[in-house]
Each structure stands twice: as structure tokens, then as C-alpha cells.
């Protein structure tokens, strides 16, 4: 088996019932419900090699989570073909389920009223993990996540960051070969986010686990995923290396300059689009092809103290991709 995940022309529709606001809407929805089909996934295809760490990017409702749910056997596909580790996920065979884990940042599998260690013990039994292996994995994971002190506290008393750490341990005790992470860093503070990222990175390396990750936090993706799949409105609009995404969609460069004098400062508009002008700092965006010319003009005509040329931020690029700018015409 060479590919861990194969998805071919996957389609998933949802039927939603619309209800107008208020009591009147409630009544009319009882007697004549307005049903509407929502096409969450419109024939998507991709495949993933074992050990890859792939990031899913897309705005809310783009179909990222729907894809992951289809891959883990939670959703019945409307049409198309899905194969994960050689299994049809929908069959939910025990051999398949023992090799995957799905962590949702907004959902907990832990028993709320009991300490996390009880859930771990239960998972040990459910996944039929041998005693020795359980002890080893548990120690390793608690060390990696520095979570020893939270294991014996009732889960409801843990903070979000603490809970996410024990949540991950619960999901990884059976050493899944494929790990689905849906917004693992949502709601976490900067320190906790960084810790989570380091952990995911290490886990991918150490166990050669295939990891699929969704996140709205571009830092997650920049730091973790080399390959990204961009989904918008149920379609894949980019699948490739993150660097390639930048090269293809970054049409502008950013020039940041520090000036020593305010003289002629209004003329600076002629060089490029002014994004920020707060003396002594100026930020301009210029087309990629014209960046050298713009920089030299700036140096010749203005009292420049310092000058840097930067790439557009990944957020800006992604935002443009979602707006559909340049995608349809250039790519397809």
C-alpha cells in the first residue's frame, strides 16, 4: 500500500431545513419545511503519502471538516471514492479505527466528571493496548506535553490549554497511523499554541504518522505543513507546497522604508501604492516585476535611512485566493 489516503471525486451534500425567524416561521417550518441541498464537497480528489503532514486551508464552511469526517468514517459520502489505509472508512472496521484518531479542538472525548486518567484507562481497554505499550506511550506523551500534573484532576476543572493536552494524549495512546486534527490550536494562547505545534511536528517525525490538519491560524500551517490543500466552497483550488502557493499568488512585494526628512513626502504615491504613511515610516506595495525599479527610485529621490523588501504575508495571499482573484483565470 503506497498511499495512505486516496480521495477520488468525493461529493457530499447536506439537506438543511430553513426556518424563518419568530413564531410564525416555526409554525410554517413544521407544516411546510423548506428543504435545501447544500453541496459541501463538490467532487474533490487528492491523495496523501504515508508520513505526510498536510494542512487544509479554507474559510469557514469551505468543506475542510467535512473532508476529514468523510475520511474518518463519520460521514457517508454522497458519491465518490474514499480509501484510507486500504479501508473504506464508512465500514468502520475495528482494524481501521484502531489506526486512526480524530482530535477536534471544540469537542472532547474525555469523561467530563472524571480525571483524564480514567478516560485513558478506558481507551486502553477499548483499543486493546498491551500493558507495557500503554505505560510507555503514556509516559512518553505526558513528558512531551508536560501534562503529568493534570492527569488526576477532574477534566471539567482543567483550563482549555490543559484539557487540549490531555485530549491529545487520549487520542494518541493507541499510536494511530493517521491523525486528523481539526483546529487543534483554537482558543489557545500563544504559548500553548507554540507548544501544540512543536508537539505535532515531533509526533509526525517520531512516529512517521500521517497528519491532516485544519487551522485558521496561518502560523500553524507555515510552521507545520509543507504541503497545503486549499479548499473553497467545496472545491480544491490549490494542492501543493506552501512555497509554491506563495510564488503563484503573491503578485506584490512590500517595501518598508524609514525616512530622515518629510520633504516631498506626498510624491511617494507615484512610486507605489501607499499602505501606511506615518513619518518616518513608509510602507508601499508594488508589483513583483517592478520592485527593483521602485526601490531604486525611492533611494534616489527620497532621504532613505533604511529600506527592506518583503514578501506579502501568507494571510494576505490566502485572503486573495479565497476572493477568487486570479484563481479561475490562471489556474484552470
Amino acid at each position: 500500500m503506497d498511499r495512505a489516503i486516496v480521495v477520488d471525486h468525493l461529493v457530499r451534500d447536506f439537506v438543511v431545513t430553513e426556518k424563518e425567524s419568530g413564531l410564525k416561521g416555526t409554525f410554517s417550518s413544521i407544516f411546510s419545511p423548506k428543504k435545501k441541498a447544500v453541496h459541501a464537497l463538490k467532487s474533490i480528489s487528492f491523495s496523501i503519502q504515508p508520513g505526510e503532514l498536510v494542512g487544509f486551508i479554507g474559510p469557514n464552511g469551505a468543506g475542510k471538516t467535512t473532508t476529514m469526517k468523510s475520511l474518518s468514517g463519520l460521514l457517508y459520502p454522497t458519491a465518490g471514492f474514499v480509501q484510507v489505509l486500504g479501508f473504506d472508512p464508512w465500514d468502520r472496521k475495528n482494524e481501521f479505527l484502531k489506526q486512526i484518531a480524530f482530535v477536534m479542538g471544540q469537542k472532547s472525548q474525555l469523561w467530563w466528571d472524571l480525571p483524564a486518567i480514567d478516560t485513558f484507562e478506558l481507551n486502553k481497554a477499548i483499543y486493546e493496548i498491551p500493558d507495557r505499550q500503554y505505560e510507555e506511550t503514556l509516559n512518553e506523551l505526558t513528558d512531551l506535553l508536560d501534562a503529568k500534573k493534570y492527569l488526576n484532576i477532574q477534566v471539567r476543572r482543567l483550563s482549555l490549554g490543559q484539557r487540549m493536552r490531555v485530549e491529545l494524549i487520549a487520542a494518541l495512546l493507541h499510536k494511530p497511523k493517521i491523525l486528523f486534527l481539526d483546529e487543534p490550536t483554537i482558543g489557545l494562547d500563544v504559548v500553548a499554541q507554540a507548544r501544540m505545534r512543536d508537539f505535532i511536528y515531533d509526533y509526525n517525525r517520531k512516529y512517521e504518522a500521517t497528519i491532516l490538519l485544519t487551522s485558521h491560524d496561518m502560523d500553524d500551517l507555515v510552521n507545520l505543513a509543507r504541503r497545503v490543500i486549499v479548499i473553497n466552497e467545496g472545491k480544491i483550488i490549490f494542492d501543493g507546497l506552501l512555497d509554491e502557493l506563495t510564488n503563484r499568488f503573491a503578485k506584490e512585494k512590500i517595501i518598508k522604508a524609514t525616512l530622515s526628512d518629510e520633504k516631498n513626502i506626498a510624491d511617494i504615491e507615484k512610486i507605489g501604492k501607499v499602505k501606511k504613511l506615518a513619518f518616518p515610516e513608509v510602507i508601499l506595495t508594488v508589483p513583483r516585476s517592478a520592485v527593483a525599479l521602485a526601490a531604486s527610485e525611492l533611494l534616489q529621490n527620497f532621504p532613505v535611512e533604511d529600506l527592506t523588501i518583503e514578501e506579502e504575508s501568507i494571510e494576505d495571499i490566502i485572503r486573495r485566493v479565497f476572493k477568487g482573484e486570479g484563481v479561475k483565470t490562471k489556474l484552470f
Partner: protein, 267 residues
């Protein structure tokens, strides 16, 4: 098997997390027994009086029997399934290598074990306070049939409750309402936990016996009290088995249909 033993243990500890809740639930049962006890005591104040084939001893045994049998049959965690489906928490179980039905049956059994322990304790205490005449069944065959009828009652109730909960696949906000209507009102009333069903006219009784509900509480108790003929005992057991199979079939069928609709919402 070890899987389910572990689930049993964890579920048992979970019950203790809501001590006050549990105590209130038991208190409710005890109060209900008090009310029924004094109600029937008054009717049967003359010890030689017989009504509908019950004397004072048997009706009061019935009342106490209801408490024990209810603890075994009606205690269930399965009521949480509708919420699981509506909130999408069902996903957590679907991702695990366990059978969802067996998981909940196991949790039910742990709840039943806990409730049984308390019900027996409560019965003993009430017994010493109220000192009712008590009918002790000595025929081992009837005791065996009683236990068998309890097992079947547990399974009927399990599948019935499961079916009610699965409404949440199609109408997520209705799960609780359906349970309330079907389980608490129809279930408790038609099962005979308020009044023995044999005080109803024969024609009505016939209708009841075709339904699964009398086999939850009333039938097992009748077997225990030795109030029904051997033929009726056997046919009752067979009807129970038939209901287990019918409800089990529909539960499985609707479960598969429901899962196709399930969207693992909640985010």
C-alpha cells in the same frame, strides 16, 4: 469482553460524580413507594379483603416489587443518546473500535447495578419501618422464570429507549420530548408501575398484553407472585422474546439509516 468490563467500571465511577442527583432520583422512587403503599393500605385496610385477586400481602409485595424491578429495568443511561446525536458527540464513539449498542447496554447495566444496590437497601429500610406482610416466592422454577423475564425486560426497554432516542437523527430537538411522552407517561403507566394492570377490564388487558410495555414491570412481578398460569407464563416469555427481536431489528435498521443522515454537527 475486557473492553466492556472497563466501560462498566468507568460508567460506575461516573455515576458517583453526581451524588446529589442520584440521591434525589432514589428519593423520588422512595416517595412514590410511600404514596402507593398508603394508597393500597387504605383500600385493603380489612386484611381479609380481596380485590381483583390481590389480598393485602400480595398488593403490598407488588408495590415493593415495583421498586426493585423498576431499579433493574428502568435505570438506564441510554437516555443520553438523543443528546449525543443532536450535539454531535456521537462522533466520539463512532471513531472508536467498539459497538455502540453494546457500549450503551454496558452503561445501562452499570447504572442498573448501582440502582439495584440502593433499591435493595431502601426496600429493607422501608420494610422495617412499614412492616408490610410480604409474599416470598419459593418455587425455584418461578424464580428462574422471573429472572429470565427480567433479562428480557431489560432488553425490551433498552431497544425501546434506543429507538426513541434515534428520533434525534431526524429531529434533533425532539429527542427529549419523545422520551418524556413515550417512556415516562406511556412506559411507566402501561408497564404497571403505578397500578397492577389486571385491575383493568379483560378486553383492555388483552390490548396491553400485545404491547411490549407490560413485560417491563407487570409481567415479571406476576411471575414472581405466582399469579398467572404456567401457560400464560410461557406465552408471556415468548411474547417478550418476540418483542426483543422485533425492537432489536428496528433499532438496528433505523440506526443504519440514521447514521447516513448523521452529520457530526456541533461545530
Amino acid at each position: 469482553m475486557n473492553k466492556y468490563l472497563s466501560i462498566f467500571k468507568t460508567s460506575f465511577s461516573q455515576e458517583f460524580a453526581y451524588k446529589l442527583n442520584f440521591v434525589m432520583w432514589r428519593l423520588r422512587n422512595v416517595l412514590q413507594i410511600f404514596v402507593l403503599f398508603f394508597f393500597w393500605s387504605t383500600i385493603f385496610s380489612d386484611p381479609s379483603r380481596m380485590v381483583f385477586g390481590y389480598d393485602r400481602g400480595k398488593i403490598l409485595t407488588y408495590v415493593f416489587g415495583v421498586m426493585i424491578v423498576k431499579a433493574v429495568v428502568f435505570s438506564a443511561r441510554t437516555v443520553d443518546i438523543a443528546g449525543d446525536i443532536a450535539k454531535g458527540d456521537l462522533a466520539n464513539y463512532l471513531l472508536k473500535p467498539i459497538s455502540y449498542f453494546k457500549y450503551w447496554l454496558t452503561r445501562d447495566l452499570s447504572s442498573k447495578a448501582l440502582n439495584l444496590i440502593f433499591a435493595v437497601g431502601e426496600t429493607l429500610i422501608l420494610f422495617f419501618i412499614l412492616k408490610p406482610p410480604f409474599y416470598l416466592q419459593t418455587n425455584p422454577w418461578l424464580i428462574l422464570a422471573f429472572i429470565l423475564s427480567l433479562v428480557l425486560a431489560i432488553l425490551i426497554f433498552f431497544y425501546f429507549l434506543l429507538l426513541c432516542n434515534m428520533v434525534a437523527f431526524w429531529a434533533p430537538e425532539m429527542g427529549w420530548a419523545v422520551q418524556f411522552l413515550l417512556v415516562i407517561i406511556i412506559g411507566e403507566f402501561l408497564s404497571g408501575s403505578f397500578i397492577p394492570l389486571d385491575i383493568f377490564p379483560l378486553g383492555v388487558q388483552k390490548v396491553f398484553y400485545a404491547l411490549p410495555f407490560p413485560y417491563l414491570i407487570f409481567f415479571p412481578l406476576q411471575v414472581y407472585l405466582g399469579k398467572i398460569s404456567l401457560a400464560f407464563t410461557l406465552s408471556g416469555l415468548l411474547i417478550s422474546i418476540a418483542w426483543v427481536l422485533i425492537l432489536g431489528f428496528f433499532a438496528n435498521f433505523i440506526w443504519r439509516r440514521g447514521l447516513r443522515r448523521f452529520a457530526a454537527e456541533g461545530r
